[in-house]
């Protein structure tokens, strides 16, 4: 569908939502460290970085139009705003989960031992997707386990009870679960690198009418990421601040970063976005989503269209609602911000 008319006007003030996840912590840090203001001032706009404690709610708020942009995983960008008819552009491909999501089992045995077990996870999320991929990898299907929906904030507590033998979670919860005696990670996103991608998405109409916003966001992101990659005092301080914002200790936060593959270099991000691998990944993701009924009343998995750099599309080209837009990352790579 077309982006709505009102949203296309040029505006001065924008709200970007974020929720707590290792790969998104640069955003609030940038806000506090003044990096946001610096770039916003440069482009003569105002950007509010808004924390939403509950991840799903942040995406819902974006879908409802209360936020102009939000941090989100690729699968949720597809199933929530895009499937809901909201034309969405992913302008920053920030990282992929390289172990930040994992399947946990108690007791001995490898992944195959999960057969017949009850698995606690946030249903219909990337965890669900990860579980499906994990089961695939050992020749099982979703019918071989029984899933129990468990809120992400409570999954650590749930995993601590003897009732729960298997669970899927992401960081920082995953780390806390690994610390429990007798718990082991049997599959992780490191086994499917590049499939769980964390994005910053914005409303397509808004970004079209306000390219300044895209430029400012790209500027903020790469400056902050560069800062946190530094192995000196400044970088350490930045990471410690991010840890604090996430409610974690610096050590725990560093551990989480290790399992997050940050596209710190914009060139690399552009390459990843333009690579055909992303199309493959998104095909898998949307097939999974469709099979779970996440496209609601849609006839086929093609109902929701996606556009990739270079004019490639996936699904219904008349109904493109998720666009991977590398142009702003490209500007950053070219140093034209």
């Amino acid at each position: 569908s077309k982006p709505s008319e009102e949203a296309s006007e040029a505006r001065q003030e924008f709200n970007i939502g974020w929720s707590i996840y290792a790969g998104w912590m640069p955003w609030p840090y940038a806000q506090q460290a003044g990096i946001v203001k610096k770039w916003a001032d440069k482009y003569g706009i105002k950007i509010n970085i808004v924390q939403v404690n509950d991840y799903v709610e942040s995406v819902n708020q974006y879908t409802a139009g209360k936020l102009d942009g939000v941090t989100v995983a690729n699968m949720d960008a597809l199933t929530i705003p895009a499937a809901g008819g909201k034309d969405t552009s992913a302008i920053i491909v920030g990282d992929y989960s390289n172990g930040n999501d994992g399947v946990m089992l108690k007791g001995s045995g490898d992944l195959k031992a999960i057969k017949g077990k009850q698995v606690n996870l946030v249903e219909l999320s990337v965890s669900h997707y990860l579980l499906a991929r994990a089961l695939n990898s050992v020749g099982m299907t979703m019918r071989d386990v029984k899933t129990v929906n468990t809120a992400d904030a409570d999954i650590v507590g749930a995993f601590a009870t003897p009732d729960v033998q298997a669970a899927v979670a992401w960081n920082p919860q995953l780390l806390a679960m690994k610390e429990q005696p007798g718990a082991r990670e049997v599959f992780s996103s490191a086994d499917i690198p590049g499939e769980i991608v964390d994005l910053l998405v914005v409303d397509t109409g808004t970004i079209k009418a306000n390219p300044k916003l895209g430029k400012a966001l790209a500027g903020i992101w790469y400056e902050t990421v560069a800062l946190m990659q530094q192995q000196d005092e400044a970088g350490k301080k930045a990471r410690a601040a991010m840890a604090k914002l996430a409610g974690a200790t610096p050590e725990a936060f560093d551990k989480q970063l290790k399992t997050t593959y940050l596209y710190a270099d914009p060139k690399e991000a552009v390459a990843a976005t333009s690579s055909p691998d992303l199309v493959t990944t998104m095909t898998r993701v949307r097939d999974f989503s469709f099979s779970k009924g996440l496209f609601q009343n849609a006839e086929s998995a093609d109902a929701v269209g996606m556009a990739f750099p270079g004019g490639k599309t996936l699904g219904d080209p008349q109904n493109v609602t998720l666009r991977f837009d590398e142009s702003y990352m490209q500007l950053a790579a070219d140093g034209k911000l």
Binding site: S1, S4, V56, N60, T63, A64, D76, T79, I80, A83, G84, G85, K86, N120, E123, L124, S125, R143, K146, T147, V148, N149, T150, A151, D154, V156, G157, A158, A160, T161, P162, D163, V164, L294, Q296, N297
Partner: protein, 271 residues
């Protein structure tokens, strides 16, 4: 005629009562239609057609995986949990509330504890609740009980504590022991208030049920609502909420009717 004296006839009452609710429905429809005019794929205020379609599947078509009719399985599971939770709380309210209200030493000893438990938001203590009760049905029923029982207990205790002292004295002069004062004077007079307390607690009970189901569950009305919230499926959420409201209002009406029927003396048989 002064407004305080204007009694409303039964038939008019139904009509008047329906009015604001109908109005709300109309406002909703107008908003929904205007949003859909802008964005036909709008998910936030679905049109009745979309809701009917989604619900049709849940109500009539068995789920591929489990073979159940999802809507009815959800309803049954939730009602069971709610019934158990409210039942246990009611029992606790009438026994503990009665004892607290009428026996000063018990009140002195356990009153502060009950107040303490009543004011602790159980949502905050979920991890401990999990450890104590596991993650199964017990935990869900437990959350409802921990959530509503203390409030009910305090309400009954306060009510019983306000019985005219004369009645207690009178009963004793008629040979009643403490126990008999409790079961023959305080208990029957607490019953209508107990039903009132149940009616007041139903709202919070649903809240805790839904919270519990949101946390860890695989079936239930609250589970479904929180599951589909992931893709903002208001076309399922709204009918589910309406169904919950309908169930809750039915319970409320049954309780209110039962109270009038069983305890006529408490509902102004006089003038």
């Amino acid at each position: 005629m002064r407004w305080v004296n204007r009694q409303v006839r039964r038939s008019d009452r139904l009509m008047l009562g329906a009015l604001p609710i109908l109005l709300l429905v109309v406002v909703y429809l107008l908003l929904a239609v205007s949003r859909h005019a802008e964005n036909p794929a709008d998910k936030i205020l679905p049109l009745p057609g979309a809701m009917a379609e989604s619900m049709y599947g849940l109500i009539f078509q068995p789920d591929q995986l489990s073979g159940q009719l999802i809507f009815w399985a959800d309803t049954l599971a939730s009602l069971q949990r709610l019934g158990l939770g409210v039942g246990i709380s009611t029992l606790a309210a009438i026994t503990i509330g009665l004892a607290l209200g009428i026996l000063p030493p018990i009140r002195a000893t356990f009153g502060p504890l009950v107040t303490g438990i009543a004011v602790i938001p159980p949502i905050a203590l979920l991890p401990i609740l999990f450890i104590a009760l596991g993650l199964g049905e017990t935990a869900k029923v437990g959350l409802i009980v921990v959530g509503i029982a203390p409030v009910m207990i305090r309400d009954i205790a306060a009510h019983v504590g306000e019985l005219p002292r004369e009645q207690i004295i009178k009963a004793q002069t008629l040979g009643a022991s403490s126990w008999q004062v409790m079961i023959r004077v305080a208990l029957p007079q607490a019953m209508p208030r107990l039903i009132h307390a149940m009616r007041m607690a139903l709202g919070p009970a649903w809240v805790f049920l839904i919270s519990a189901e949101a946390i860890a569950s695989d079936v239930g009305l609250g589970y479904r609502i929180f599951l589909v919230r992931r893709y903002l499926a208001m076309d399922v959420i709204l009918p589910y909420v309406a169904w919950i409201a309908l169930l809750a209002i039915t319970m409320d009406m049954i309780l209110s009717f039962a109270s009038r029927r069983l305890f006529p003396w408490a509902h102004g048989v006089g003038h």
